[in-house]
């Protein structure tokens, strides 16, 4: 397999000792096995996330993202930008789309970026993609099988796709109401995907988990309950916000609703890494607050 190179936008939560640092660890390991090289955009900044709108407004938000795109164009020319975080992907892609659609906005953005000696070209020369798109479209399900050493047989996964890795852009042209790619990835590495997981694309509350905890936790409760209903051993997700929200509030939800939730929430990259014979540490399994014991066992074999 020829080496594939991408301009990588890791995003805040993937930084060392940040909430999705374990995601990053497993992505690194996974990419190594798949011969993918990620060239980090030097000096990238935050995407503004979906909550940035309120104070940030329109142009400042786009400028944040445009700065990243400009830096990528300058330093990693001709490489697709790849993000691992749904919000980062969405933020950057949205900005690119919007600048593409509005000459005014593009001109304003260029004017601002000039202050930092930067420029942005766009014209869709730099596609902005999510890591799972790279896996599915560039490598393909067959290709994902190749480095497999172990099978995840015997583990039942509820594939929780969530919102922003799904909407509004979608992955691989799949339906918004029932995207299948995550299930297919699970099956690719030998796991059992739950087919009628009816909270697959339900919102976990996103950033509002902080400001509206009660409402968000109600959502999260439903998401977890549906996974249990279908007999899932663990949840798998492509999004750091989803992962964090669904994992860390389980204690509080138990307290509030009298439930006994204790279900691990993993990343697809952790699954692939284990299947590719990575050890628990490489797969970032030590970063899961609720330990994914079955995965750890397979990793240890």
């Amino acid at each position: 397999m020829a080496k594939k190179e991408y301009s990588f936008y890791p995003g805040c939560s993937s930084e060392r000792k940040a909430s999705a640092s374990n995601y990053m660890v497993s992505v690194d390991a996974m990419c190594e096995k798949l011969d993918i090289k990620l060239n980090e955009i030097p000096d990238w900044n935050c995407c503004g996330a979906s909550i940035g709108y309120a104070e940030g407004g329109e142009l400042p938000r786009h400028v944040m993202n445009a700065r990243n795109i400009a830096l990528s164009e300058q330093n990693n020319p001709d490489q697709d930008i790849v993000a691992t975080c749904a919000a980062c992907w969405l933020g950057a892609k949205e900005t690119a789309d919007r600048l593409d659609a509005s000459e005014q906005l593009l001109a304003d953005t260029k004017e601002v970026l000039k202050e930092a000696g930067l420029d942005i070209h766009l014209k869709n020369e730099t596609p902005i993609r999510h890591m799972v798109e790279v896996l599915i479209e560039d490598i393909g399900y067959e290709g994902l099988k190749e480095p497999m050493v172990k099978s995840l047989e015997g583990i039942k996964f509820a594939g929780y796709v969530g919102c922003q890795t799904n909407r509004p852009f979608g992955i691989d042209g799949e339906s918004f109401e029932n995207p299948m790619y995550l299930d297919k990835m699970v099956e690719t590495v030998g796991g059992e995907a739950i087919t009628d997981y009816d909270k697959k694309v339900t919102c976990c509350g996103g950033a509002l988990a902080f400001s509206e905890p009660e409402k968000s936790q109600k959502q999260i409760k439903d998401i977890i309950e549906a996974a249990y209903d279908q007999g899932a051993d663990m949840i798998v997700t492509p999004c750091p916000v989803c992962q964090m929200n669904v994992e860390v509030y389980q204690d509080q939800i138990n307290k509030h609703y009298g439930t006994k939730f204790h279900i691990p929430v993993t990343y697809y990259s952790q699954l692939l890494t284990v299947a590719y014979c990575g050890n628990a540490k490489e797969a970032g399994l030590d970063g899961n607050i609720i330990r994914a014991k079955q995965l750890e066992e397979i990793a240890a074999k």
Binding site: K17, G52, A54, D108, E111, L208, D286
Partner: protein, 207 residues
């Protein structure tokens, strides 16, 4: 701030729809809603909204300026994009909700105590400062936004979360002193200031 609001009221008289079209992100889409209600039915916190999106669009068309700009409703948008992918008229509803919230906030008439509004402000200031999120500073700021005592209470309530994150090395206890952002935060500040200026000029919001 409320001077800006008064100026806007005078400028647009009774034509709130026009005001929204000119000043709110993606506001020119509002007139295209056909009142099917799919968005309202798709919204995860929908039942908690005083005025779900469909209704907000109708209110804008009916000129209910104060009710729209002071409602907490659109502050409950989780950016789930459900509405966007389902709207038969392809309205960018999420962005309009964000745009309305931002506009109300800029005019100084958004609900003062709305938790999301306050969180969003803290969040933006957090990232604008260094260019990247400092999760620890963000959480602390958030817990203590209502003062020291309730902050301690909040922090205690969330302790289990925090400890789990700490243990798994997903929260940096020293981030307050050690967190680094982009190399040249000053330059970023210049960019953001300039962007804000241009936006204000375009929208006629002289702050």
């Amino acid at each position: 701030m409320s001077d800006v609001n008064t100026a806007m009221v005078q400028k647009y008289r009774n034509d709130f729809l026009k005001e929204v079209e000119e000043n709110v992100e993606e506001g020119h889409w509002v007139k295209m809603c056909m009142q099917c209600g799919v968005c309202s039915g798709s919204c995860p916190f929908g039942p908690d909204w005083d005025h779900p999106p469909q209704e907000i669009f109708m209110m804008i068309r009916a000129g209910k300026r104060d009710e729209v700009l002071t409602t907490e409703s659109m502050w409950m948008c989780t950016s789930c994009y459900n509405c966007i992918v389902r709207c038969p008229r392809e309205l960018p509803i999420t962005h309009i909700m964000h745009g309305l919230a931002n506009y109300a906030h800029r005019l100084g008439i958004a609900p003062k105590m709305n938790p999301t509004r306050r969180f969003a402000k803290i969040f933006w200031n957090n990232i604008a400062k260094t260019g990247r999120v400092n999760e620890l500073a963000l959480s602390l700021k958030l817990y203590f936004m209502d003062g020291f005592m309730s902050g301690v209470k909040n922090a205690l309530a969330m302790a289990s979360v925090g400890i789990g994150m700490l243990k798994t090395k997903r929260l940096n206890p020293f981030a307050l002193i050690s967190h680094k952002g982009v190399k040249n935060p000053k330059e970023l500040h210049v960019l953001l200031k300039k962007a804000r200026e241009i936006e204000d000029r375009r929208k006629g919001i002289a702050s």
